[in-house]
Structure formats: C-alpha cells, structure tokens
Symmetry: C2
Subunit: 194 residues, 2 copies
C-alpha cells in the first residue's frame, strides 16, 4: 500500500507541472493566457453543464475523466495551438511521437493498473473515434471559440484566421461530437469575421 | 434550446473568473500561488487516482463532479485559508452567509434544473456529512499538505503552524474521509515540524 501511494503521489505531484503550460488562448476577460490545468478544469465543467448536448451513448462521467487527463502530455511537449499548425486535424508525426513518449513517462509513474487505464483513456481521446472521445474533442474545440468571442478575437486575430478556416479547423470537429452546439456557436462567431 | 444554451454559457463564462482567485498555497515547486481553478482540476485528478482510498459507498464520479464546482463561490467571496482562520472547522457565519449568496447568484445563472442540481451538490460538499462529501473534503485537505511538503513548508511557515495544529485542523478532517491516506501523509509531514 505504501509503495502504491508513493507511485500515486509521484504522478499527482508531476501533474502539478501542467499549471505551468501556457496556451495561446486567453482567459475570457483577455487578461492573460490560460494554462492547461485550468483549461482542463474548465472543460470538465463544460462536460458537466453541457451534458444535454452529447449524442446517444455518451457517458458524461467518462468524458469528464478523459478531459481531466487529456492534456497531461503537454508537460513534456507543450501546447500546440490549432491555428498555429494551420488547423491540421492531427499534430505532426514528430509531435505525435513526442506525445506518445510523454504518455509513457507520465502515466508510467502510476501503479500498473492505473497507468494502463489512464493511458488507454488518453489514447481513446486522441483517436477521437468513440462517442465519448468525440464529445470530449468537441468541448475542447468549443471552449477556445468562446474565449475568443468573449475577449474580442483572441487567437483568431493572432493567427489571421478566416471564417472558412474556423469552419474547417474547428467547426467541423465540434459538429462531429455536438452538432447542436456548433449551430449555436457558429451564429455567435460569424459576425466577428465580417 | 437557444435560451438554455445562453444560460449554460453565461455560467461557463462566469466560472472562468475562478482562474483569478488566488490561494495561500503555492504550486508544488513553490514558484507561485495556486489559483482555485487549477486547484479544482488537481483535486478532481486526486479523486480519479486515489479512488482506492475512498470508503465504502463512495461514488468517485460524484466526488469528481463535487470537486469541480466546490470552490465556485470563491468568485465572489475569495479563498479563506484554513490556517489563517485558526483552523476553524467552518467559516465564520459572515463568510457562510456570503458564500450562500454567491451560490445563489452563480448557480442561478444556469437553467433551473442544472442550478438546482449543482447547488445541491455544493451544499452536500459544504455539509460534509455524506460519504461522497467526506471523501471530497479529505482530498481538499490533503492536496495543500502535499504542496507544503514538496515546496518546503508553504503555508505552515507562513502561519507558524505547529504539528498539533496540523493534526487538529487538517489531519482529523482527512482521516474522516480517507483514514489510510492520513496515516501515510502524517508520516511524511511529521519530520518537517521537528
């Protein structure tokens, strides 16, 4: 038991470093960039509050667990803003390899059963194929849209994003896991680009 | 539906302000104070990883939901450090009244069904009487202990805390919801005070 707790806390103390990883997106009031730990909290709260936007077969509690751990690999790799990488659906092979290595190291701090369970949950999120992962990905895409809207442009201004790019890079992803949400957000976002 | 989403996002955008509420506790590396949003994320991760420390009848998914919302009232009231208030089990009547008013305002931004559900979950946490709430409270008490240990003293040094005070103010609360966890953490903390 003692050895198990040592491993659990080695992981929890390492996870603390996610509070240092800065994102391109700012807080809603535009005052400073958001870090990936508080972003993960906000997303889990999104899942809790927007549960009625999830499609059939989605377990909101599983989505919340997924969102709590989805960015931990950034402790080693950092955040790669979607618009900075020209909106590619997936990170470059180099980034993907680095993230896999980070997952190995970070989840590997845990006792074997937990390491396997959380790594598998993270891989499911990355693959974005199950209903839970698609809904989680939709929330991960919609939260920065709201921050940009609230703060007067945000990363859209930083990266000179057009409305068509927003639709392709972000909207299509949100629509996959939460179509009703994208319809509503689109109507809010559209005027900013005209 | 549109009106419902307006309310859901009014709440989610307001919740963003928790990222500005600073706690007395620092990050594990001591580099800066922790904010209450990233603290809430870290605690939810604690619940996920330390689930095997929960007593019988605890729903870890409910505990995670509770921890995600447990500090939202601090948007209006701020954080009251346990050692600063001489370790009183409950906040002063004034603070309690202010927190109830904050809960009314903040959860009141949501559609009625969600407002009722989340407010009730917060009240359950505050009352600390159910197995879920007790486990959630134990985690909320143990996380700053780890931060203090990792950063070389933290709020124990700031507030000249003695080991007996730690035992009374913090240890007894951790032991209520996660006795095995307190036994283990106590052995780590004790040497710091000698």
């Amino acid at each position: 038991m003692t050895q198990r707790l040592e491993q659990q806390f080695a992981f929890l103390n390492e996870a603390d470093r996610l509070k240092h990883v800065m994102r391109a997106t700012t807080l809603v009031d535009g005052s400073r960039p958001e870090n990936s730990a508080e972003h993960s909290w906000h997303l889990a709260l999104y899942a809790l509050v927007l549960a009625d936007q999830a499609g059939p077969g989605v377990s909101v509690d599983r989505v919340i667990r997924m969102l709590l751990i989805h960015d931990l690999v950034e402790i080693d790799v950092g955040d790669v803003p979607i618009h900075a990488q020209n909106g590619q659906a997936h990170a470059s092979p180099q980034t993907q390899a680095a993230e896999a290595k980070a997952a190995e190291r970070i989840f590997g701090l845990l006792p074997d059963d937990l390491a396997t369970a959380l790594r598998s949950l993270w891989e499911e999120f990355e693959a974005a194929e199950t209903p839970d992962a698609r809904f989680a990905k939709s929330l991960d895409r919609v939260q920065p849209v709201m921050a940009n809207l609230m703060s007067g442009g945000g990363t859209w201004a930083t990266y000179n994003v057009t409305y068509d790019q927003l639709e392709t890079r972000v909207g299509s992803k949100i629509a996959k896991g939460a179509p009703g949400l994208w319809e509503w957000v689109k109507a809010k976002a559209r005027p900013w680009f005209t």
